[in-house]
């Protein structure tokens, strides 16, 4: 085979990371709009079970509802996260968020195709409420790039992290009203 040495520098490439994320980051607006139920409350119990297809194990939680910010719920609501263990079989699905009994939360829930309510955006919809009534985000999912410097291009909105429940509730209510107005105007 011919071995040749022909070198021509045609310029350096600055390769940057692709914008792919394991889980898309949701802005506050997206988080609110895509959630079917937003509520505060306390987790009262949990259990595990296979789903209807006997394909995935889910950990189910019961939330004693204190207040509903979006959607409709009774005094308690059941939601679930994939993963857990049943009958000696453990199943890990990377990235699932978990809850502990007695935990106070502001939670964004989305109805899944299998009918379960699940935390919106892999933990992005979970905020623990500390003793002072402030929110603490469970997961950082800041994966999106912000593009187009010097313009006011759409950018992900930082989470509700650090807000009081009252502040967050007002913001959610404003967003829900805005979204409803948009729907009526269409």
């Amino acid at each position: 085979m011919h071995a040749k040495s022909r070198v021509a520098i045609i310029g350096l490439l600055m390769l940057r990371a692709a914008s792919a994320t394991s889980v898309p980051q949701l802005s506050f607006e997206q988080l609110t709009d895509t959630s079917d139920l937003i509520a505060t409350g306390s987790v009262t119990q949990s259990w595990t079970a296979w789903d209807a297809e006997h394909k995935y194990i889910w950990t189910h939680y019961q939330l004693s509802v204190s207040s509903v910010k979006k959607g409709a719920a009774g005094s308690s609501v059941e939601f679930a996260e994939p993963g857990g263990a049943v009958d000696g079989v453990g199943m890990d699905i990377a990235g699932s968020v978990s809850y502990r009994t007695g935990e106070n939360v502001l939670i964004f829930l989305q109805r899944m195709p299998n009918g379960y309510l699940r935390t919106t955006g892999w933990g992005q919809g979970k905020y623990s409420i500390d003793g002072a009534g402030r929110l603490r985000a469970a997961a950082s999912l800041r994966g999106l790039e912000i593009v187009d410097g010097k313009s006011a291009a759409a950018a992900p909105v930082r989470s509700l992290d650090g807000m009081t429940v009252t502040e967050a509730s007002q913001r959610i209510a404003d967003r829900v009203r805005a979204a409803q107005s948009t729907e009526r105007g269409q």
Binding site: A20, W47, A138, A154
Partner: protein
């Protein structure tokens, strides 16, 4: 199953409901769970020396799915999913210090089923799949036993994985050719890491970091150390380092992110502290500095990103602190096979006013040139200077920035605000701070970290830059046997340029790790044609010989990656037929790489000793490149006859082969009887088929 029955069963079995990890016991960030006795058990494969994944047969180029509710082209038409999966597996197989081997992926019609004991990669198709995906790009479903026993006829110990399935989101557009933003090979490399029981990493540039990016095709030392620790090979040469992180009052710092950096050798390894503040990590033998950072508010790594259950205690009220301080960090020696016990690392109390900023890359020493910032690691070719841009998180022009990593340093006095760049949205009004990093040319990838200090506040951007070899540059792509610039699918091609590889290397037996597939990455070098990985035969800094994949036509983007550094695409032209004789130089001539039926090489003994001339009436075996399009990337186990007319022209005589066929990868064989009309002498020789003739310049010596 009713709720009450499940509750009863759960109580009776005291089954673990969530997953967590004990880094103090296992180092890095591995998957584990708490068993019925409250013991932390690592999740572990027992088939690590022969991991058999199956690729669902619907995963083909151009496949569409409507499972998400709308028709989506899940795999772009120009992609090669089999090669992407194969390359991802080969990346893990290549870790010499780990006893891990993925077998060549097989095809299956089966779909996701965690109880079928078959590890399947499939596009999510059912309500169950979509619900479990929950919008993620892909998920790995590791199924393990929570107690010892026999399952499907196999003895399993507690925590052993018996099935791993990988589900691709039917709403996501995957590709291997860069035509979409989700690189299938990078995703698969990450997901295979999960199948090996890897948790996410706290190092932004690691393959197992929580967000997929192109650099996740390549393993960091952190990833390598993890799999080496979990599945050590007999030749593993890691040392162990153990210590404890405490607050000033002596209390344990729980679940602090630990980073160890070998600034001389480029090794970077991360871990977590346990509930007692201790950590134990295995790392390559070297000298390390060590620091710990909190998973505090505003950090890109949060407990849920590492699958912590809600009950996990995470200490956050401390500053990022280095053992010995960042100005003169204590150097810790790790020796192979030895354990180094580190003095307690006492953290500085307080909460940092700084948070994780968004990050961008720009021209060194300049302004502007920052169009994108992200929360991801940046890839930076070495042998140059670059600007890292930081915005948000309280960063301003008063910060001090320190770079940690092999061959990376901050240009003195280069920290400044670039007021020519601004962003909207949440970053409105925030200053963009630039710092110039000088990157010494290097042959392998490494991670660099930045330590940012403002007043009493310190944060770490651990593994924020993936420093890779200098950018490869392709200057031409030719037929490997001539200077012809057209290439044929399945033929051997020569790629010329600079920084294409770190050294001369020819494939070896150890590179053939995937059955009958040819190696697609040798010496840390791979080549892609329209995103499809190609078999690579040899590398040199200025030349790579590779086999063009099948199915190419027209303009083809050829790219080279050298140990994580990517070239710009070079546009080559693919044609269906362009024959050229394999040949060798001797003296001032090029002779056909031909043999007598005895196996002796044909040639001019005056130019190359040991060769003999072809004789009139003798059958000579010639070898041809590009005689026709063929399959690329695999060993040819049975000859494939070539039935189109072929002629050899020797001087003015013509000859028709008694046999023509593909006998090896990219290699056609012609058995030709030398015309008896030829008198002794040197004759130009060419081969023709389908109206195409090989380039001139090859001489056949005819004897006696």
């Amino acid at each position: 199953m009713t709720k009450s029955s499940v509750l009863t069963r759960a109580i009776a079995l005291v089954v673990p409901m969530t997953l967590w990890m004990d880094p103090a016991a296992f180092g890095y960030i591995r998957q584990s769970f708490v068993d019925a006795k409250g013991v932390v058990v690592p999740v572990q494969r027992i088939d690590n020396t022969g991991i058999q994944f199956y690729l669902n047969n619907l995963i083909v180029p151009g496949v569409q799915s409507s499972a998400s509710g709308s028709a989506v082209t899940v795999i772009s038409p120009g992609s090669d999913p089999v090669s992407a999966v194969t390359s991802a597996a080969a990346t893990w197989n290549a870790v010499a210090t780990a006893n891990v081997h993925f077998l060549p992926v097989l095809s299956t019609a089966r779909v996701i089923d965690p109880m079928d004991f078959q590890m399947t990669i499939a596009i999510g198709s059912t309500a169950s799949d979509l619900s479990a995906l929950g919008g993620a790009v892909a998920i790995t479903l590791d199924s393990y036993v929570t107690g010892a026993g026999v399952l499907n006829g196999v003895n399993y110990a507690e925590g052993n994985i018996y099935d791993s399935d990988i589900v691709l989101n039917p709403a996501v557009k995957f590709s291997t050719d860069g035509s979409t933003s989700t690189d299938l090979q990078a995703v698969m490399t990450h997901e295979f890491g999960h199948s090996l029981s890897a948790n996410h990493s706290g190092l932004l540039g690691a393959t197992m970091f929580q967000y997929a990016s192109l650099n996740e095709r390549y393993l960091s030392v952190d990833d390598v150390s993890l799999v080496t620790s979990a599945y050590p090979a007999s030749t593993a040469s890691l040392g162990t380092i153990t210590g404890k992180v405490v607050a000033s009052d002596g209390s344990a710092v729980q679940n602090g992110l630990v980073t160890m950096i070998d600034t001389a050798g480029g090794n970077v390894v991360g871990s977590l502290t346990g509930t007692d503040g201790s950590y134990t990590v295995q790392a390559p033998a070297a000298s390390y500095m060590i620091y710990v950072e909190p998973m505090a508010a505003g950090s890109i790594v949060q407990p849920a990103n590492l699958y912590f259950p809600a009950s996990t205690v995470v200490t956050t009220n401390f500053q990022t602190t280095a053992l010995g301080g960042f100005s003169a960090p204590t150097q810790l020696t790790v020796a192979a096979g030895k354990t180094t016990t580190v003095p307690n690392l006492t953290v500085t109390a307080g909460t940092s006013a700084l948070q994780q900023p968004y990050i961008g890359v720009g021209k060194a020493g300049g302004s502007g040139s920052i169009g994108t910032v992200a929360s991801l690691a940046e890839v930076a070719p070495s042998g140059q200077s670059i600007d890292i841009a930081l915005i948000g998180g309280g960063i301003d022009g008063t910060v001090a920035i320190q770079a940690l990593g092999q061959g990376v340093s901050v240009q003195p006095g280069s920290v400044r605000v670039d007021s020519s760049v601004s962003f909207g949205g949440i970053l409105t009004g925030m200053p963009l701070v630039r710092v110039t990093l000088n990157l010494t040319s290097r042959q392998t990838s490494t991670l660099a970290s930045l330590i940012i200090t403002k007043g009493q506040s310190t944060i770490a951007l651990s593994g924020v830059a993936v420093i890779v070899p200098p950018t490869p540059v392709i200057s031409s792509v030719n037929d490997a046997e001539s200077a012809r610039t057209s290439i044929v699918p399945g033929e051997w091609v020569a790629i010329y340029g600079s920084n294409l590889a770190n050294s001369y290397y020819v494939w070896a037996g150890t590179d053939f790790v995937s059955g009958n597939l040819l190696p697609v990455r040798i010496n840390g070098v791979s080549v892609q044609f329209n995103g499809t990985p190609a078999a690579v035969y040899f590398t040199l800094g200025t030349q790579i010989n590779a086999q063009a994949p099948s199915g190419l036509s027209g303009n083809v983007n050829v790219t080279v990656s050298n140990n994580g550094s990517y070239s710009a695409p070079f546009v080559a032209t693919a044609v269906p037929v362009a024959p050229s004789l394999f040949n060798y130089p001797a003296g001032s001539n090029f002779y056909p790489a031909a043999v007598h039926l005895s196996g002796a090489i044909v040639g001019d003994p005056s130019a190359l000793a040991g060769t003999t001339k072809a004789l009139p009436g003798e059958t000579i075996v010639f070898f041809v490149n590009g005689l026709a399009s063929s399959s690329g990337g695999s060993i040819v186990s049975a000859a494939v006859p070539y039935t189109n007319p072929v002629t050899l022209t020797i001087g003015t005589a013509t000859a028709t082969p008694s046999y023509a066929g593909l006998v090896a990868a990219g290699e056609y064989q012609l058995n030709v009887t030398i015309p008896t009309t030829l008198a002794p002498g040197n004759y130009p020789i060419t081969v023709s088929t389908q109206g195409q003739t090989s380039p001139s310049g090859i001489i056949l010596p005819v004897g006696p």
